[in-house]
Structures are given as C-alpha cells and as structure tokens.
C-alpha cells in the first residue's frame, strides 16, 4: 500500500465516523432538548430532575442493586434474541414467551410452602419457566416452518394470546381475593437475597450471566452457532450446504424462548422491591420488546448486550424516583430509550452510506 492510498483510506474512515457522529450528536441533542422542553413546560426544573434521576438510580447501594436485578430479565431475553437474530429470525413473540415462563414458574411457586427447600423450589420453578417459554416459542416456530406464517405476525398474535391467557387465569382459577393476581408466594419460592446488599440475589445474577455466556460461546465457538449465522446470511445457501435449517429455526426459537421464560420467571420471583413476588397480568411488562431494542442498539454485537441491558434497566429505576418525587410519567423513560435506539440505528445507516459513497468495501 502506498502512502497515498493510506491517507485516502484514513479520510474515508474519518468521513464515515463524521457522518455517524453527526447524526448521533444531532439526534441526542433533539432527544435531550425534547426532554428539557417537556420538563420546563410542565413547570419542573431540568437540573434537579437529572439529580433526582441519578439519585434514584445510582444514589445508594439499594438503588444500584435494583438496577442490576431489573437488568437480569432484560439480559436473559436479549441473550436469547441474539440466537434468533443470528438465524435471521425476528422473534417478536419473546414478550409472550416471557409471560409463559412466568405462568409456568407460578405453577410451582404458588404451591411452595414455608417448609419447602428453597433450592429445590427455585430449580423446579426455573426449569418449568424454561419449558413454558420454549413451548410458546415452539408454537411460533412451527407456525413459521410448517405453516409459513411470518414469525413477526405469529409472534404478535401469540403475545396477545399469552397475556389474555394470563388474564383469564388470574381472573379465575388463580384469583387472589378481589384482585387480578395470585397470592404472594412464600419466601422459599423466591430468589434468596445476599444479606445487607439491598436487593442483590446471587442465584439470579449467576443464572443471567450464565445464560449470556452460554449464548456467546454458542455463537462464537460452536458449530451450531456457525450454522445459525450462515442461516442469517442466507437460509437457502445454508440449506444447500447441508444445514438442517427447519430444525435449527425450531431449536433457535426454543432456546430463545427458554431464556426468555427464565427471564419472565425472574420478573416475578424476586422479593420486593425488585418484583412483586406474585404473578400479575402484565408480568412481562414490555421487557421482551425492550430486549429487542437492546439487541438493535448493540447492532447485533453480543459483547455490548450486558452493558446496554444494565443501562436499559437504569432508566426505569431512575424514572421511578422522578415519578414519586415530582410526579413525572415514567413512560418518558421508555420514550427516551426508544428514541435513543432510533437515532443510533439511523446513525449506523448514515455511516454505512458514507462508506458506500466513498467506495469503501462493506
């Protein structure tokens, strides 16, 4: 390579980064400006709101532990989605799969007495949660492979069906008093906490990290991961090369559903204040959709997923403080996260476009 070519390459690179940075900065300015405008219009001081947000999310050990614990279901679901995205699948049904995990875990959790061994109870709950999530994902998978129903529409319908099944159960057989929820679970059914740590639960953390590491290793080191990635590039080519694509679609969906199901169980199995400690109609709480956004924000790069999952749980935890202190609607936190992902995706596109017009190979 001559020095001239080298400098041309550098300028192409800087162009690409410039385009990306420009969209990012302008986008972030718009988001921040919008939030400041909303705060000012509703008569709230932006600086003190930021302070309340940071205090509420990172202020003390309890708040920080809350961020970690609420990040675990997001991390588990996002890890599962890394598998399906690699295979070129849009598993929007993750939301319903998490709900099914929570419902299946409840089958055990609601019958656990105070004298049961916590470890056995927890193991059974999580195994059932994985089965529940995997089964619901299998439905979407079979609809796709056998029925040629696009997994996006099958998944959306299955999400609504799952949440209505939950409503039906909670309004009927599992109803607790007059409320749409199960009775609070007994202590052995819940995740054990580290004493004096706020809300930290070691088994929960270990399970979520193990799920992520497993997915990471599958994708980067295993033959199956290679097959999935080949399918993501071209299902037809992978099939012609001897990959059993139909079976792999089902397996990837089920693995994702199992991880999501465990995530759904964690959503209800932590003691207060992380979760409620009982099953309620909206137990999946949009976490599955949030996990889809995490993977999109990470641009499908596994290594970024844990950090982004933590950030995506930090925002709602901080917003909670703003809600209790100055009555700000926590939906604003969701809007912020979604707008951020939107801007980053556009910025990635701008970088790709700059690269393309510079004639740089993709």
């Amino acid at each position: 390579m001559t020095p001239l070519q080298g400098s041309a390459n550098t300028s192409q690179h800087s162009n690409r980064w410039l385009a990306q940075a420009l969209v990012l900065i302008v986008g972030l300015l718009i988001i921040v400006g919008g939030i400041v405008a909303v705060l000012l219009l509703s008569g709230k001081d932006p600086a003190s709101a930021l302070n309340l947000f940071l205090q509420g999310s990172l202020g003390d050990a309890t708040q920080r532990s809350l961020v970690v614990m609420r990040g675990l279901p997001i991390l588990l679901a996002a890890s599962g989605l890394l598998l399906t995205f690699s295979a070129g699948l849009w598993n929007i049904g993750i939301e319903g799969q998490m709900m099914f995990g929570a419902i299946f875990a409840t089958i055990i959790a609601r019958s656990v007495g105070n004298d049961t061994s916590g470890w056995i109870a927890l193991a059974l709950e999580l195994i059932l949660a994985a089965i529940g999530g995997a089964l619901w994902a299998l439905v979407a998978g079979v609809l796709k492979t056998k029925g040629r129903v696009n997994e996006i529409f099958g998944g959306v319908a299955l999400n609504f069906i799952a949440s209505n099944i939950a409503l039906y159960i909670l309004d009927g057989p599992w109803k607790y008093g007059a409320r749409q929820q199960t009775a609070p679970f007994n202590a052995p059914a819940l995740l054990p906490l580290v004493p004096d740590s706020g809300a930290l639960s070691l088994p929960g953390i270990v399970i979520a990290i193990a799920g992520f590491v497993l997915v990471y290793l599958i994708l980067k080191r295993s033959r199956w991961g290679l097959q999935l990635r080949a399918m993501g590039h071209s299902q037809r080519s992978a099939f012609l090369l001897g990959v059993r694509t139909e079976r792999n679609v089902l397996l990837a969906m089920m693995a994702c559903g199992a991880l999501g199901g465990i995530g759904g169980a964690l959503q209800i199995l932590s003691p207060d204040p992380v979760s409620k400690g009982y099953l309620f109609p909206d137990s999946s709480g949009g976490i599955g959709f949030l996990a889809l956004l995490v993977v999109l924000l990470a641009n499908y790069q596994a290594a970024w997923v844990p950090l982004i999952s933590l950030f995506f749980s930090l925002v709602p935890v901080g917003m909670l403080n703003l809600q209790t202190q100055i009555g700000l609607d926590p939906t604003l936190g969701r809007v912020f996260e979604e707008a951020l992902v939107f801007i980053v995706v556009l910025a990635n596109g701008a970088a790709a476009r700059a690269r393309h017009t510079m004639g740089e190979p993709d």
Binding site: N150, G172, D282, E338, A339, G349
Partner: protein, 329 residues
Amino acid sequence: MADDPIVRSLASVVRNGAPLVLAAIGETFTERAGIINLSLDGSLMLSALAGLVIGINTQSVLVGALAAMLVGMIVALIVAASSIELKQNQVAVGFILTLLCRDLAIFLGKPFLNIPALSVPYFSIPILKDIPVIGPVFFDQDVFTYLSLLAIIVSWFWIFRTSPGLTLRSVGERPAATFARGKNVNRIRYLYAAVGGSLVGLGGAAYTLSVSTIWKETPNGGQISGNGWIALALVIFGGWYPLRVAFGVYLVAALRVLAGNLQGGEVPIALLNLIPWVLMILTLLAVSGPYLETLLKILPRRLHPLVRVLLRARPPAALGVAFEQEGKE
C-alpha cells in the same frame, strides 16, 4: 327500515370498520410499492392523538384530520428514507417506530385522557339513503366512513385500472424492470409511502374524531392499541387486494360487534379477547400456508377459482427489499 336491528348492526360494522379500512388500504398502497411500514400500531395511535389535540385546539375537524395525516405521512416517510437512503432494515426501523410512536402517544396523551374530542356530525346522502338496507348502512354515516368507502373503491381502481397503478405494482414486483422503463423507482416508493402513511393517519383521526371521540390509551392498552397489528395482518389476509382487505376488515368489525353483544354473558372477557388473535393466526395459516393446495384437492373443480380469489396471497416480490440502481455512483 333504519330501525331494523340487523340493518343497524351492519351500519355500525361499516362505521367501526372505517379506521381499520383506511389504515389497511394505506398499508396496501405502501406495500404494493415494496415498502413495509411496520410502524402501524404506533403511528395509528400518534396520529389519532394529533387529530384529537389539534382538533380540540382549532375546533376544526378538518385541521385535526390534516394534522393526523401529516403525522402518519412523516412516520411512513421515515421508514422509506431509512431504507432508501440509509439502507437500514425496514422491519427494524418500523418496529422501533411502533414502540416509539406508541409510548410517545401515551406520554403526550396523558393530559387528554377521557376528555371528549370533537365529534363529526352524520350527514345522509340524498336519494341514495332511501335505498332499502344499502341506504342506511352506507349512506347515512359520517365523513370518515364515507372517506373509508371512497378509499376502497379509489384504491382498487387506481391499482388495477390505471397506468400509474400498473407502475405501482411493477415497482413492488420488479423494480429493476420499472427502472429500465425509465421510471424513478425510489421517487415512486416515496410517493406511495407518503400516500399510504397519510391514509394511516386519517385512520388514526377516524378513531378519535369519529368512532370513539375519547382518548383512552394507557400502557395497559386502550381502544386503538393492537389495531395496527390487525391492519397489517389484514393486508396479508387480503392478499394485497383492496377489496379483499376491506372484506377482511368488515369481518373483523362484525366479529367485534358480535363479541360486544356477548359481553357480560357467560364467556369471560379474556377469552373473548383471545378470538381476534387466534383468528389472525388461522387466517394467516389459510392464506400463506401450504394448506390451500390441500383444500383445493378436496373441493370440486368448479369452486377452485372462487377459493383462489378469496384465499391465495402472494406478497409483492420486492417487498422489504431496497432497490439499488446498478452502476450508480
């Protein structure tokens, strides 16, 4: 005649179906041009809110409806631009916009919860309204319902009976061939994304200005949320044919009127709410699955054309794929 309960139910099916008709016909236009605007569930809600708020503030249904159309158009153009200019996945961008528009509508709409909006007056069309059954069902409605009926007829005529309609179909099927015939593929795609998005926005306005006239959307659901997904599925069920899409919408609306009558009875509401989604899966299976051929084998040959017309669905070949002009620098 107008007091006959069946006629009244039919009239309410046509009226309640209007927003879904407008949204699904809009999406049919957009997808026929090769762009999939997945954001419908969110853009319907955001445009509905725009219609309500701007309508209240200006005391004008027309301005409210135009604002809603503008919102729908902008969202659709963002999806188109991120595909055409930035080569981003239409599904990814559409999905993000679904959530963003939905939560934005819920957040911005909170002060307007349960505040009544403007309502559109009914006006019957002279002479036509006196036709038995058809008169009261189709010609004694409000302006949004008339617009929805107009959208069905105009879209069918435009797509299948005009020269620009032929170009529209070819852009969605074989963009390279359209380009070779001297047409600007991407400009046409922008155009139909804008047209389709405006119709989606008009559908949103039809919710808040005609069907419901009250804002009820919260994170736990509402009246509009979920309908965008149904509209998207109806486009598939309709096989990208406006008349079949409209037929699907009226089936859904009729089912809802029926379910509304069942409410408060023996069947739990959660189970009633399951029905549309189970049906969505079953109909998608029927139109896209391999079962159509099996069905045709069983049925007598005489029925084959009818079953094909009703059930066969093949998406535009270039749906969701960005067009890259060869040799373009």
